[in-house]
Amino acid sequence: MLFSAILTGLVLGGTYALVAMGLTLQYGVARIMNLAYGDIIIAASFGAYVLFTALGINPLLGMLIVIPAGFALSWLIYAVMLQPLARRSRDRGRLEGDSILATFGLLFVIQGVALVLFGSGFMSYSFLAVPVDILGTTVAANRLLAFVLAVVFGLGLWLVLTRTRFGTVIRAVAANPASAPLVGINVDSVARFAFAIGGALAAAGGVVVSMYLTFSATMGVIFTMKALIVVIMGGVGNLMGALAAGLILGLVETLVASFIDPGLTLAATYLIFLTVLVVRPQGLFGRAAR
């Protein structure tokens, strides 16, 4: 029972870590606090659902369509909606305010479209729902696949950011957007690209979510919240922190759901969030601010 809960928790935590990495890129590099992030995730889940149920395309192949779509959509959102806001704001505080309000509006747009197209009911489909035996505990193959995918994407992103020239540029902007232009970095395009990659990760997360969870058009808020909590716990802009925090969150949620009450998972999540805020506002793995 405990081992099975831990296994489920790791799978869930892997997904959280994956989507939180996207959000930490968007907030850490593009400086956009994206309140519509969870709705991009849900939109991708719907995308995978349609591809699978209507066209018979399995979600793994579906990713080849949904992830680029998430990238393109986020690129567009940034270019059309957020870049003008970023350009006109002199200080970070104002961009934060404006982007929070604008993406709050975007949340209702995306959610509204999803409601019109799919209604408010819960959705799920059955893909690879075969039991696999791991050390005497059975786990559905789709959950295992979800975990593997989260690890692959997370590792891939980490390698890109730490081992490539482009990754260095992104980290430079995250560290100091004001100085980056001095070394010949175009902050605008880097921010746009980082925001789009964040969107692609959200889309990947959405497909992963759709493989093993039921979802609905109004669930975006919950995913945004969980991603935000993971980002803050891990320290803004810290990928390894997001990974660790995501796993912790997934484990705690599953343990609370299995041993206390499934109705209290969100409360547990918030309790962790509050505790982190009060004890270490810079995040569990973040460096102390001056």
Partner: protein, 306 residues
């Protein structure tokens, strides 16, 4: 003095509305008063501090639900008192945890607070009372609700007026401008913010409590509707959050507009709402938070220097 007489006359005139208005206009009046209270209460805290609260409906819903749960057990005035107390306790918890930190944490936390409160109420109902939906039967007609909301609005405006003239109002404006200076001048920042945030939240809770009998049937997904929080933010920002009557002036036309939209485009309501909001953020060139102020100061400065 003249202003006070005028205000009382306006109040008396508004109190007579239910005698003449039919059920539909009266319903609109209740809606306007309800949103007027919420927007004014929201702006009381978020205007000067610029801490954007996205949790209006969490408190509104708490109030409504408290009435739904206790209506049969306690006399009505006592129920309202308990609702206000519940709102106060939640406001203190949220405020103590987040108001010492940078504004962004507060925004994030309030963003998720509605969902948290909704799930906790659901949990409480499912596990403790074992009734998810509830019927509210109180001997209160729409005109009673109208009068109560009118009284609450008058009280809210009076408090907002008092705050703007009192030391605590100045403290809040100083904090909004520069918290570092505020602390060096001897202002107790957390205490000031917490006080105003609690007052604002208690008013929101009461607004929900008073309107509870209108639904007859209440369940968490009805009273914890996030669009309410969203609308309140737009109304207050567009009307001018740092003016006494600004939020109210924003609430009247926008409520009527949203009412018309939801009647004519029920399915596309939230899409239109979202697009409208994005447009508002764009159209106001100095950022939403500054817009109401700068417009007003331009108008008033022109008057002051002919």
């Amino acid at each position: 003095m003249m202003k006070l007489v005028f205000a009382l006359a306006a109040l008396a005139a508004l109190a007579l509305v239910p005698a003449f208005a039919g059920p539909y206009p009266l319903g609109l009046g209740i809606g306007i008063l309800g949103y007027g209270v919420l927007a004014t209460a929201w702006a009381m805290f978020s205007g000067p501090t610029r801490y954007i609260s996205l949790a209006t409906v969490a408190f509104f819903g708490l109030g409504a639900y408290t009435v739904a749960v206790l209506a049969d057990m306690l006399p009505y005035p006592l129920v309202l008192l308990v609702a206000a107390f519940v709102g106060l306790v939640v406001a203190l918890i949220v405020g103590l945890a987040t108001l010492r930190l940078a504004g962004i944490y507060f925004v994030i936390f309030t963003f998720g607070l509605t969902e948290l409160v909704r799930q906790l109420v659901t949990y409480y109902e499912v596990n403790v009372t074992r009734t998810l939906g509830r019927y509210v039967f109180l001997p209160l007609g729409p005109e009673h609700i109208y009068w109560q909301l009118l009284a609450l609005l008058a009280a809210t405006l009076a408090i907002a007026f008092w705050v703007s003239r009192a030391r605590i109002g100045l403290a809040l404006r100083v904090i909004g401008d520069d918290p570092v200076v505020a602390s060096h001048l001897g202002i107790r920042i957390t205490r000031t913010k917490l006080t105003l945030f609690s007052i604002s939240c208690v008013i929101m809770t009461l607004a929900g409590a008073i309107q509870a009998p209108r639904w007859t049937y209440i369940e968490p997904s009805i009273v914890f509707n996030p669009t309410t929080s969203f609308l309140v933010v737009i109304m207050a920002l567009l009307g001018g959050p740092n003016r006494l009557f600004g939020p109210l002036l924003g609430a009247v036309p926008l409520f009527l507009l949203f009412e018309w939209l939801s009647a004519n485009f029920p399915n596309h309501y939230s899409i239109i709402l979202g697009l409208l909001f994005i447009a508002i953020v764009f159209v106001l060139p100095n950022g939403v938070l500054a817009a109401g102020d700068s417009l007003w100061s331009r108008l008033t400065r022109r008057e002051a220097r002919p």
